[in-house]
């Protein structure tokens, strides 16, 4: 059974807050749900599916959020696989709707990571408290440290340079400069990235995503219903998700989940990387974007450094990527998966103003959750406005 074009995203909303110490996580989430429902032209009474998780809530946070919203949905999902969770939630909601488990599902995320001073990349350990974490946590890895190790390895194996990574940050900032809600909008150069201080060698400060408050929500419903709603639907063509772990040292740790979820999603959508008009790639760090593009098959392994150069990722380039400014410049409230889908939908609708990608009909979102080099998840989603 194929899911292709059976369901669609009917409403999206990105919360404009970047620093909101006056709001709670649930408040940001509730405001986002209202925004997305308004966008779709639906009411809260229409919602019978809720998908959420977050860094600020417990494993049962979805139940608490339903209480906050006074919802008793027929479908809930709180799959928690890191920042990619919301891309996976979108796929799960689509499958649930196609299978008749619910009719209108909201996928929502909110966080006050900045105003609560969460130490996401450096302060916390790059590992949790699960039994498998005993192999890394005692040695004190940090999230940024593990991603930096990937960058180091990529440089060693393929001769990738810091300047090539910097190009990604510069492009994201260019996009952010055209997004009035972005947290950092002042243009930067490759030299600025190179001059910013080293956080974990070889990653500079400007190679790392920012920390902000914020949130967002998506409304998923059947393609049929979406066609009758306010906005042009963004149809879900294909999706896939998986995880990668080092398999106790037996797997090349540069192999990402994207290398499995990407081809599977392309196959399910019936398209190839060459068909994609714009991509939203989780940019926790510049190296994440480069390696994800390789693993998804946009270029060969090792060619990422050259691939991201020459303005290819610019909104007017060959593969416009992270046109909202990404986690590197616009917002990163702890997890970013939801914003990948929001911006892709806006691009497919042609709502992006100066940063609008021309003739954008096919978009790809890929979320990465967890920590590259240790354990991570990947979720790919392919959307179309046709």
């Amino acid at each position: 059974m194929s899911l292709s074009r059976k369901t669609a995203l009917a409403g999206v909303f990105e919360h404009p807050a970047r620093f909101a110490p006056n709001k709670s996580m649930f408040q940001i989430m509730a405001e986002s749900v209202r925004g997305a429902l308004d966008d779709a032209g639906l009411k809260i009474q229409d919602v019978d599916g809720v998908c959420t998780t977050g860094i600020g809530m417990s494993g049962m946070g979805v139940v608490g959020f339903c209480d906050y919203m006074n919802l008793t949905p027929n479908f809930v999902d709180s799959t928690s696989i890191g920042g990619s969770s919301f891309v996976a939630h979108t796929a799960h909601a689509a499958a649930a709707i196609a299978a008749g488990l619910c009719k209108v599902a909201v996928v929502v995320y909110g966080s006050t990571a900045a105003s609560q001073r969460f130490a996401i990349g450096t302060g916390g350990g790059g590992g949790g408290s699960d039994p498998c974490d005993q192999y890394e946590v005692p040695f004190g890895p940090t999230t940024v440290g593990s991603y930096a190790m990937m960058a180091q390895r990529h440089m060693h194996e393929y001769g990738t340079t810091s300047e090539q990574l910097a190009e990604i940050a510069v492009t994201m900032r260019l996009h952010a400069s055209m997004n009035p809600a972005a947290k950092y909008r002042e243009l930067i150069t490759v030299e600025d990235v190179m001059a910013s201080r080293i956080i974990s060698s070889p990653l500079h400060l400007l190679d790392c995503c920012i920390i902000s408050d914020g949130g967002g929500a998506l409304v998923v419903t059947s393609a049929e219903r979406a066609r009758d709603l306010k906005k042009k639907p963004a149809y879900i063509l294909g999706c896939a998700e998986t995880v990668r772990h080092p398999a106790r040292g037996r797997r090349d740790f540069m192999e990402m989940a994207a290398s499995q979820s990407g081809p599977l999603a392309f196959e399910r959508a019936g398209v190839t990387p060459g068909d994609i008009d714009m991509a939203m790639i989780y940019d926790s760090f510049t190296i994440t974007v480069l390696m994800t593009l390789e693993n998804l098959g946009f270029c060969k392994r090792g060619e990422g450094g050259a691939f991201v150069g020459g303005g290819r990722l610019r909104y007017d380039g060959a593969l416009p990527t992270n046109t909202d400014g990404g986690g590197l410049s616009s917002n990163h409230p702890g997890m970013r998966g939801i914003f990948l889908v929001i911006e892709a939908v806006k691009q497919l609708r042609g709502e992006c103003g100066p940063r609008q990608v021309k003739d954008c009909a096919l978009a790809l979102c890929h979320g990465t959750g967890g920590t590259l080099g240790i354990r991570h998840s990947g979720a790919t989603l392919i959307l179309s406005n046709q």
């Binding site: 970047r18 909101a20 110490p21 006056n22 105003s115 910013s196 400060l205």
Partner: protein, 270 residues
């Protein structure tokens, strides 16, 4: 010290007050003595006035605010000029239904208080400029260093030059507190505040101030020196000047008792 929010110019503005707490959107009781608005310095926040709020709250109704994007107030960008900050504080007074108030300000906040007395005399009962200047003399390399921090080129340097040698030697916890207070605000905001300060020149305007003024300076302050305070004192008619020993740019925390009694005495004479 209770706190709450009020919406001002689209910014959820955080403020500290005294007395009984009230429900959201209900203005706290401000009927004791004088209403005193305490405005913090560049890159700082309202908590830097905690000694004054606690003490003045016994007889008066002090309120210390977090300017936009500072401390716990919302937003990621401050304002570009001292004048825009003054407009903001006036909008804050409107939001709380305060007609006139005594405005005390430290450093950049002091410039805001003086500018309010110049441009909004009907809203200002008296002013207390604390460790401030009519024209800030901030070395360009200091601005450049802050720009480097804002651009991510350098970590924020831990410096003690805003404190009196006596504070550094005997009461290092005050230095530590000052550091912890300013890291609550994005360094980009601190940078734009400093730029706003360098753009501000009130020397020609001070003669128009017709409100009582108490000017407080720290004897050891290298940033806004006692000479800067003298100039302000000379230009605001009828103003009083107190230069407090063993204090520098963090006077309200370095010498809280002296600061409090000076302000309290001034308020009693109004």
């Amino acid at each position: 010290m209770p706190t709450k929010y009020v919406e001002v110019q689209g910014c959820a503005t955080y403020y500290y007050y005294t007395g009984p707490t009230t429900l959201p959107d209900v203005v706290p009781d401000l009927s004791r003595g004088r209403k005193v608005i305490l405005v913090h310095g560049a890159g700082s926040n309202g908590h830097s006035w905690h000694n004054q709020v606690a003490h003045l709250g016994r007889l008066h109704s002090p309120i210390a605010i977090d300017l936009p994007a500072h401390g716990r107030s919302s937003g990621v960008e401050g304002r570009n000029t001292v004048q825009e900050y003054s407009d903001f504080v006036v909008a804050f007074l409107d939001a709380l239904g305060i007609g006139t108030a005594v405005v005390a300000g430290r450093s950049m906040g002091g410039a805001i208080a003086m500018d309010m007395a110049v441009r909004y005399p009907e809203r200002v009962e008296a002013i207390v400029p604390v460790v401030t200047a009519a024209k800030f003399n901030i070395p360009p390399q200091r601005i450049e260093a802050l720009r480097g921090v804002a651009m991510g080129r350098a970590p924020q340097a831990f410096v003690t030059d805003g404190f009196s040698p006596a504070t550094v030697k005997d009461r290092f916890e005050i230095v530590r507190e000052g550091w912890m207070e300013q890291v609550q605000t994005d360094p980009r905001v601190r940078y734009t505040d400093m730029v706003a300060c360098t753009r501000c020149d009130l020397r020609e305007d001070l003669g128009r101030i017709g409100r009582p003024a108490l000017i407080l300076a720290g004897a050891d302050d290298p940033i806004t020196t006692p000479a800067d305070a003298e100039l302000v004192h000379g230009r605001i008619r009828g103003s009083k000047l107190r230069v407090i020993a063993d204090a520098a740019h963090h006077l309200p925390n370095e010498q809280p008792a002296e600061t409090n009694s000076a302000i309290e005495g001034f308020l009693a004479e109004l």
